[in-house]
């Protein structure tokens, strides 16, 4: 935490806008999203369905669904090189190599017609590896807590439980010692006891291999427990970003505050749950200016303009005019 402040970022996402082609032309799904992840850091990207967190994460490996999805503008720098400008060859060496990916539904992400062994060995076909792949996958299965590797290796996905499949996916993502692990809702389909096992496993591996983790989730509790930095997305924009400790102590954006208040709390005696009125808008219905203003209890006149991400403490930024610095008139920086 905080210890990576000065090092070179591993991943830099700069002003990334992603669009999808629809009946009425291309609709922008995300709007100039920027964040950085340093080596060994765990970054939690949080938001509700449709906020653009998953497409952002898919675009990092150029995995946006074709046809339809495309990057409209921005840059994605991995170790300083723009992923969006890479050739297929370069991309292939990145995917499953330097960058490992864990998907939300392990049952859907694995090939149902292949036994686990064949799937785990696949990354080695595309990447140089010194050593015995067979040995490597066995030691990884052991590492992810699979007690009977022989049974699992010869099994087909349908023969394994969700928790086992997620472990297999993590093992696969780790085959080539990635320096960045992207986990899109890695435990959403799992029970809490299995979730705790999987998250602890990712945490151990992060410590052991110094891999950075980008965790995409709707669960703020998970972010609180397992991330160093957090970015909150709403309606395609990053609305607040900062170190998790500071974010939890000093939550600034009304949407972030709303998310926390709506969360059922096991750790609070009162168990308060305040709903956020209204609903998450669809991209075609995004408001001009601040996109949260129709649901925001604090909305005031400047919110008709688009707020910048204003600095709000050490490494903490917030896109809300309540926190606009003094002397920066709200209307000035606005482009809406």
């Amino acid at each position: 935490m905080g210890m990576h402040g000065t090092s070179q970022p591993l991943l830099e996402v700069e002003d990334l806008s992603i669009g999808f082609a629809g009946d009425q032309g291309v609709i922008a799904i995300t709007d100039k999203v920027s964040f950085k992840i340093h080596p060994g850091e765990a970054y939690g990207l949080v938001g509700e369905s449709g906020c653009g967190k998953s497409v952002t994460c898919l675009s990092l490996l150029k995995l946006l669904p074709v046809p339809g999805g495309r990057v409209l503008s921005g840059r994605i720098l991995f170790r300083g090189r723009d992923i969006l400008k890479m050739t297929q060859e370069e991309l292939r060496s990145l995917r499953g190599g330097e960058i490992g990916m864990i998907f939300q539904e392990p049952g859907a992400a694995l090939n149902p017609l292949w036994p686990i062994r064949r799937q785990l060995l696949e990354p080695f076909q595309y990447h140089a590896y010194e050593g015995d792949p067979q040995q490597r996958i066995r030691s990884l299965l052991d590492r992810v807590g699979i007690a009977d590797p022989d049974r699992v290796l010869s099994a087909y996905p349908h023969q394994l439980s969700g928790g086992m499949l997620q472990r297999v996916m993590i093992a696969m993502a780790l085959c080539l010692n990635p320096s960045l692990l992207i986990a899109d809702e890695p435990t959403t389909a799992l029970d809490v006891t299995v979730q705790a096992q999987i998250m602890e496993l990712i945490e151990d591996l992060r410590r052991e291999f110094q891999a950075a983790v980008l965790m995409v989730t709707h669960n703020l509790n998970l972010v609180a427990q397992y991330a160093d930095r957090v970015g909150v997305m709403y309606a395609g924009r990053l609305v607040e970003e900062g170190p998790v400790d500071d974010f939890l102590r000093n939550t600034l954006h009304p949407y972030s505050q709303g998310l926390l208040a709506a969360l059922p709390r096991l750790d609070a005696g009162s168990g308060l749950m305040h709903p956020i009125p209204g609903q998450v808008p669809r991209p075609a219905d995004y408001l001009s200016g601040c996109r949260f203003r129709d649901r925001c209890p604090h909305a005031f006149e400047p919110c008709g303009q688009k707020p910048d991400l204003f600095p709000a403490g050490e490494g903490h930024t917030v896109a809300c005019f309540l926190h606009a610095p003094a002397g920066a008139p709200a209307a000035a920086g606005a482009t809406a």
Binding site: E48, V192, A196, N219, Q225, L263, L266, Q279
Partner: protein
């Protein structure tokens, strides 16, 4: 702003006196496992395996547990949607002949259900009006000419505009669809609603809206809710009592404040400890192992293989649901209490 908590507690702690609204005794729902060319029954998945509890009017009773523990099957069995194999079921004081599917017919009006998935539980070819009018007509709730007014009233009650009446489900978001599901259930003035993971598919901000709506309606209409959920944080906020299920059996039954303050069964404690919270100083604890197959249940306590407190006795004898201070726990060595003799 009232909170969900306040709404739930406002209706005063429901009385556990008098005749229960729902009585379940020794309920079993077993699914045969068939194998081989002759399709012989080789065993049973004991989804619900000897469950006993009762519910009183106005109560919010939650059934929690991990996937496969039988909590949804229990809800379905009570309503006859998945008829139980064995046991006794008494709805509103009247015994049900569990061998006869039609014996539930007289109770459909009073015992309703809201399903988990708002995307598949509404007929895509029916308008909201058709979906809400059908049960009203079938049960003769109001005269035909009054149905449009009644449907409009129901929609208003769940926070939807009556203008939406002639739209199809695809025009609605997940939260709005779940509101339609709620409108459909309350239209018949039921006594009890089984809520099967009703907010699991919704985002947190919408989840809180739906829960609040349910709790408000509960107080307003004097409903009882059998709330089936895997989300213990949510259950903590809304329940009067909680049943914890593991592999088809109730392992702990307690008033919600007791259960969360003093879990007695090691499984309940492990579930609570595995949940991440916003408190960064408290790390979730791990429960090792996986749930055994419900087809080949081990001898003794089904949780013994994963239990940090298990002794020899636990692998030989099956614990009944013993009284454990203010709670009941199916454990010989309840947490914080002397062992069961």
């Amino acid at each position: 702003m009232t909170t969900v908590q306040a709404a739930s507690r406002a209706a005063a702690a429901p009385s556990r006196q008098g005749a229960p609204l729902l009585e379940v005794q020794g309920l079993k729902t077993w699914f045969p496992v068939v194998g081989g060319v002759l399709r012989k029954t080789t065993g049973y998945v004991k989804a619900v395996n000897d469950v006993t509890f009762s519910m009183h009017a106005g109560e919010v009773l939650s059934v929690v547990g991990e996937s496969g523990c039988g909590k949804s099957t229990l809800g379905y069995s009570i309503l006859g949607l998945t008829p139980p194999t064995e046991g006794r079921l008494t709805l509103a004081g009247k015994p049900i002949d569990i061998g006869k599917p039609s014996s539930w017919n007289g109770f459909r009006k009073d015992f309703q259900i809201i399903f988990q998935d708002p995307y598949t539980s509404l007929n895509p070819r029916h308008t909201v009006f058709e979906m809400l009018a059908e049960p009203l007509r079938a049960h003769g709730i109001c005269a035909s000419r009054d149905i449009p007014d009644k449907v409009a009233e129901l929609l208003k009650k769940v926070g939807l505009s009556p203008d939406y009446m002639h739209r199809f489900p695809h025009a609605f978001s997940g939260g709005q669809r779940q509101r339609i599901g709620i409108a459909r259930a309350i239209g018949l003035n039921p006594k009890l609603i089984v809520c099967d993971e009703v907010v699991a598919a919704l985002d947190v901000s919408v989840q809180a809206q739906i829960i609040r709506l349910l709790m408000d309606l509960k107080s307003e209409l004097g409903l009882s809710l059998l709330f089936i959920s895997h989300d213990l944080s949510l259950v903590k906020a809304i329940s009067d009592r909680v049943l914890v299920m593991y592999l088809g059996k109730i392992v702990e039954a307690a008033a919600a404040p007791d259960l969360f303050a003093h879990p007695r069964h090691p499984y309940t404690a492990a579930l609570l400890e595995s949940i991440p919270t916003l408190d960064r100083a408290r790390r979730p604890k791990l429960l090792g192992g996986e749930i055994p197959s419900p087809v080949n249940l081990p001898a003794g306590c089904a949780f013994a293989s994963r239990c940090p407190r298990a002794q020899d006795r636990c692998r030989k004898e099956t614990p009944a649901l013993f009284r454990a201070d203010a709670s009941e726990a199916a454990c010989f060595y309840p947490i914080g209490l002397p062992p069961v003799p």
